[in-house]
Amino acid sequence: MLIASTLDDALAAVAAGARPIAGGSDLVVGARHGKAPLPASLVAIDRIAELQTVTETADGGLVLGAGVSHHVIETHPVITGHFSGLADASALVGSPSTRHVGTIGGNVMNGSPAMDTGAPLVVLGATVELRSTTGTRTVSIGDLWTGPGRTAAAPDELCVAVHLPAPPPRSGSAYVRLEYRRAMEIAVVGAAAAVTLDADGDVASISVALSAVAPTILAVSGLTGLAGRSVADVAAAAAEAAAEQARPISDLRASDRYRRHTVGVMARRAVEAAARRAAGETIAVPVNRALGIGAVAATPGAPS
């Protein structure tokens, strides 16, 4: 295994056929569980400084290096403040140790339909910067995933950064997931929402994306017509659309019937929390804990 200290070294290694390994919390754990044997040739990218920066752009957007850990995301004041849905997701990943080793690049490139950062990245309009020795291209996050565990990236391309556009004024985002325990959990279902409010406090724009109910993260369609309606109406409509559009499977974690029902519940709660944040309320990250969704703490005003 090569340990790359610069991005160029890493790009050269993947061009020569090496598989990148960041935190290894998907790759190594998966290999141990017999998912797929560890590739013969590996390049470690966890020590490349330029992949670990969080940069605010002049217009209020954000560039996250692919090697930024979930721990950095869940504690970064700009992310918890303006891109809260993403921070909600990172704060739910595994355990403290998983969050310290696991990276956003690894989460996104692993492409699991149950991944937590995927749905918030979709509703926040993220793009992914892919680079190889021959050049750089930008892919919208929704186009990145082509199936469970599959991405549009070529084998010689590294994900170097995730770009987040500046959120509009009076907007907020949130991610909630159904979980059976409070650590070391994988989403049974999850939902992210980004809401922008108009001057009357009604919904100006809404987007919702779902985890663990389709082969890839699912962006809920048909919500544009909801502009101008109240938060409660939009939350209810989004819940219904989520449950309807979900294509869940039955597995050990849940039946398809239960997933379809609960993803609607999660979508409603995500919309409600995002709208409250859009209205200026501070709801601590992660929403799951702050609002007692599948969690102990009961805060007054929690969505039912």
Partner: protein, 776 residues
Amino acid sequence: MTVTEPRPTNDAPRPRFVRADGPDKVTGTGRYTADLTLTGVLAAKFRYADHTHARITRLDVSAARSMPGVLAVLTADDVPDVRYGPFVQDRTLFARDVVRFEGEIVAAVAATTAEIAQRAVDAIVVEYEPLPVVTDLEAALAADSPLVHEGWESYGSADPIVRDRNDASFSSITKGDPDAAMAAADLVVTSRYVADASHAAPIEPRAVLAQWEGDKVTIWTSTQVPYDARAGVCETLELPANRVRIIVPHLGGGFGGKCGFHYEAHVAALARAARRPVRLVFSRREEFLAPDRRREGMVIDITTGLRRDGTIVARTGWIAIDNGAYTADSGFFPQLAAMHVAGPYRIPNVRVEAHLVYTNHQPSGSVRAPTAPQACWALESHTDELARAVGMDPVAIRKLNAVDTGAEGPSGQTYDEIGLQQCIDAATAAAGYGGELPDDEAIGVAIGWWPSFSAPSGAYVRIDGDGSGQIITGAQECGTGAVMTLRQLAADELGMQPEDFQLIYQDTSVAPYDMGATGSQTLFNNGRAVVAAAGQVAEQLKQLAAEQLEASPADIVLADGQAHVAGTPSRSVPITELAGIAAGGELLIGHGSGQPPGAPPLVGSSCVGDVGMAAFIAPQFSCHAVRVKLDRDTGVARVLEVSTAHDSGTILNPVGAHGQVEGGVLMGIGQALTEGTRYDDDGRQRNAAMLEYKLQTCADAPTIRTTFIEIPTPDAGPRGAKGLAEAPNVATAAAISNAIAAIVGRPVRQLPMTAERVWETIADAAEAAAQDGVAS
């Protein structure tokens, strides 16, 4: 023996207690079995069955044997033809002709590396003729069911065991005339509850390392019961006990999962065949699939007849317990389950019948309070149904019917001073039971009981010339701190400090017999042995001191490291000085065992298949009151607070005791909500991994409050102590069930009460309510 000195109350700061094994474990210097190695050590791997029920038509190990690096390949043909088992002798080390569950061992390999061993395992050719798979408990008891053991009649079994075809052990408790009493009752309530199997899931997957020297073998193994392991090796490999030495390095937890005899003989046989030391280290998956130690699934029917005032007049019960493919220590489960379905209640008319049913699942075996959490969950959920039926408060109906000092229990045992009623009061008070709660919260209450296990046990205590002490004990530490507490007992007996003693333990060739870390019995029985052994040394010291101080030995007091004359502390001699004198003459060596407490009498009841579990020696009682918050939209239940009260007699080590209750509660929450083995139609486990078998984590732990109702108990352990480690695991799931039922309006009838099952129950309740609305 009782004491009258004041003990700390539960709110008082707990006295400092430094575990002798603590620094090793906390700093990582402690060595566990898998950490050990020996020169030339080989790696062992097993070939498991490819079917859950099939006849082996061909078994060819020649390709595996001829692989470079492979030093031994063993099958049933290579070991003595011995059927073993503590209650029913129904199994062999390696499958003979038929495999009966997925974790059954067909062959074993020892090779220079684990990779080579695995390749050799894969190269073993086995062909099968599939047989009908038995997984359903009720169907298995039908007269026309396929048999899991065609030859069941030819098997040997322990005397009291009653067997019939797929019923490996039948037991019943009968008292009074339940049919007549039921017919005369004002109300009769019938319930069915079904519990899934679950796992002990200790943090350390098991490991075994064996080395022969001449005709003697030393086996390092992660077992909770070293003497059982030794007995198993001796029986299956036909060796006398003094040629087998079992050593247990630090044990990484057990929860019962490492009770019984497992793979020590396989590894010893491999090491003998290979003429090299051999080590087996299980993967997490193997730890889930192979050992005969899962917590048994159960089907429980309970019918109770009541008077309008809530008095229980009769109870009948029918229980089917999933034995799995072989009978491990589960032979006593039916009677124990029957006791838990009868429950700690004053019921004059009782008939409970329990069957231990063979299936093609992994065998069941003692996991922390075997059968009790499931049976208590069923019974106590049923008890809340009784309360609803008569319109009574659930706590009031328990207070009315629960046993108390001087009362007669369901099997005809009359209790000495016990603290169940006090437990109910203390736990419900601590929980604030009866207060206002949000409408998505409720407090559920359940009571439980558990016997103390009386067994022979031995220890030596010696004090060397420098005054330092050694406790050489057969007791096994599985993490509870029970062995660690022995230092306190010896120190108190000798007027010394716990830190003055080293513990020499977990070595069958060094220490006398003990039953092991099983049945919450370590302090109960080995405490007696250590006190007796230390008492002998105390007598020796008093004799020596009497000579030094020119007093009578009867007047010598041992305290604070000194021997002094009673009433005159200044007339003293240090114990270290006495030790020095003894080192030049008669050495300070004590040995202890003591008489195990006998079983209390039963009056007016009769038991079929009586293995001695209907009379509870030094019975322990508990009450758990659990506040639960339910997310009605998803069925996710969260345990917010658990208030427990336990009567386990005198508490010898408060730090350890609180730890046991807290751990038991957390394990109970897991059983209640998230754990549970899932099987496919062929009886294979589908969630044999930590990701999909959901244990509770620290992040899930609620606030846990514990009150000990300390009643020094005669005919029990040292100073009136009862057992403790299993009792806290009994009532938690039941209390959670009652909280959920209080919110939902009806109980969830399957354990674990997963979010999805709760959600389905809510939907069913809503549907029933809607239909009621239509009907009325």
